[in-house]
């Protein structure tokens, strides 16, 4: 029975160090990672209750109900959160943030000169339902040029359109921070961050699937385009430390 974690080559996870992305070289940990003893601290986690998230937080496309929409293509992003056994993870707190349609974030660190959008909320949260499902309404983000003046930075690097996700899961050990990409974007194959995952199937699981509409557009003046993907969190197979 496995009672501690170890360093293993895992081609489904990104490399910690990426040539051309200098910050990774300074923030990737030391030469060695020590075995982590799995304990109750990994099998438990903060209980974010239903009351901790407001209903309108799943709509990033406007700053308040009834307010004008942000510029850009209106989309939904939906799916399920599962554990490694394929069981749904209900009550999973999810955080989503991304750039506006022009490729600019609502953040004091974003130096980009491209236009801001006062109608764009830019960040949102949701809790998965009893079946582990979520559904966000937002606008498709733009790609953007990464500042490349720092020594070692890849010249001409553009981030593809992408969504940032943070998931809390059922326990502290299940925490996931990742990004989701859009299908058919030529920048996907050139992105250092998506490309840092060696396994192709693992990369593909970070690309949203486009779902063609089956209902009429006529009842919604601003019918969104639909995208979907599932998330799989760690856990369930991790066994508690048994002691000797």
């Amino acid at each position: 029975m496995r009672d501690t974690t170890r360093n293993r080559e895992d081609r489904t996870q990104p490399a910690r160090r990426i040539a051309g992305y200098p910050n990774t070289l300074k923030r990737s940990g030391g030469a060695r990672f020590w075995p982590r003893v799995i304990s109750l601290a990994d099998k438990t986690g903060p209980a974010f209750t239903a009351g901790s998230v407001a209903a309108n937080e799943a709509d990033l496309s406007r700053i308040a109900a009834g307010a004008p929409r942000a510029l850009g293509q209106l989309i939904t992003v939906s799916g399920r959160v599962l554990d490694e056994s394929g069981r749904p993870v209900p009550g999973c707190l999810m955080e989503l943030w991304h750039a506006n349609a022009a490729g600019k974030y609502i953040h004091h660190n974003d130096p980009s000169p491209v236009p801001a959008d006062a109608n764009f909320r830019g960040h949102g949260r949701i809790r998965t339902d009893a079946a582990g499902r979520f559904r966000f309404l937002t606008i498709k983000p733009g790609g953007y040029a990464v500042p490349d003046t720092e020594a070692g930075a890849k010249a001409g690097w553009w981030r593809p359109p992408h969504l940032h996700f943070s998931l809390f899961g059922a326990n502290f050990g299940a925490r996931l921070i990742t990004q989701m990409f859009f299908p058919g974007e030529p920048l996907n194959a050139l992105d250092l961050i998506l490309g840092s995952i060696p396994d192709r199937a693992a990369r593909d699981r970070l690309v949203l699937r486009f779902v063609p509409r089956t209902s009429s557009n006529s009842d919604e003046g601003d019918a969104p385009l639909d995208y979907t993907q599932d998330f799989v969190l760690r856990g369930r197979f991790e066994t508690p430390f048994e002691g000797r």
Partner: protein
């Protein structure tokens, strides 16, 4: 449960991590998230010995690591993770000097196995995320001068004395520590030869 053709339970591969990038929304870090003790925010005042945990986070070049998000998870003063009177999770981020702090209570020890007689020493689990961290960095803060540290299974799993020592905070006063708290300094280094002791995922 997903099953292969042979009927054996098949694991789904966990979704890959990616960095938060530099634009983690400030709105996600709420007032009170760094005060687990409930001394200042809207959380209930927690039972136990209040402490102020602080430190500097530096990168491999020994420069202040700004905009690093630190999340902690810990047992209550009674050593419980499901204590209804203590929300043992907190989050903060480093400022432009790479400085961070939490106000919390000293967690109680908890048994390795329910009902067993081996114990984890008081400790605070930490997860670091941020720009340039393609995966989270995991570490754990231990308290200085604890007799249980000598028997803690996690510390015992680290064969280097120097690496073990880097997990133990220093008792060191700080001007920003709220009155009545014990101040503990826990500096972190994200890479290079002076890297902190990080634990495998």
């Amino acid at each position: 449960m997903t099953r292969s053709r042979r009927g054996k339970a098949r694991r789904l591969a966990p979704t890959a991590h990616q960095t938060t990038g530099p634009f983690f929304p400030a709105q996600f870090i709420r007032p009170g998230d760094s005060d687990l003790a409930g001394l200042t925010g809207d959380r209930a005042r927690a039972a136990g010995a209040a402490c102020y945990v602080y430190g500097h986070v530096r990168d491999a070049d020994a420069k202040p690591a700004v905009n690093v998000i630190i999340e902690i998870w810990q047992a209550s003063g009674a050593g419980q993770f499901d204590d209804p009177n203590f929300f043992g999770w907190g989050r903060t981020w480093t400022d432009r000097d790479g400085f961070y702090s939490f106000t919390t209570i000293k967690p109680g020890p908890y048994p390795v196995r329910p009902g067993g007689n081996r114990w984890f020493a008081p400790r605070i689990s930490m997860r670091l995320i941020g720009s340039g961290l393609m995966r989270p960095l995991l570490t754990c803060l231990y308290f200085p001068g604890e007799a249980l540290n000598d028997h803690d299974p996690q510390l015992a799993a680290i064969s280097s004395r120097a690496a073990r020592r880097r997990l133990i905070a220093l008792a060191a006063p700080h001007a920003s520590a709220p009155a009545g708290t014990a101040a503990l300094r826990f500096d972190l280094c994200l890479g290079g030869r002076n890297a902190s002791t990080f634990l495998a995922e």
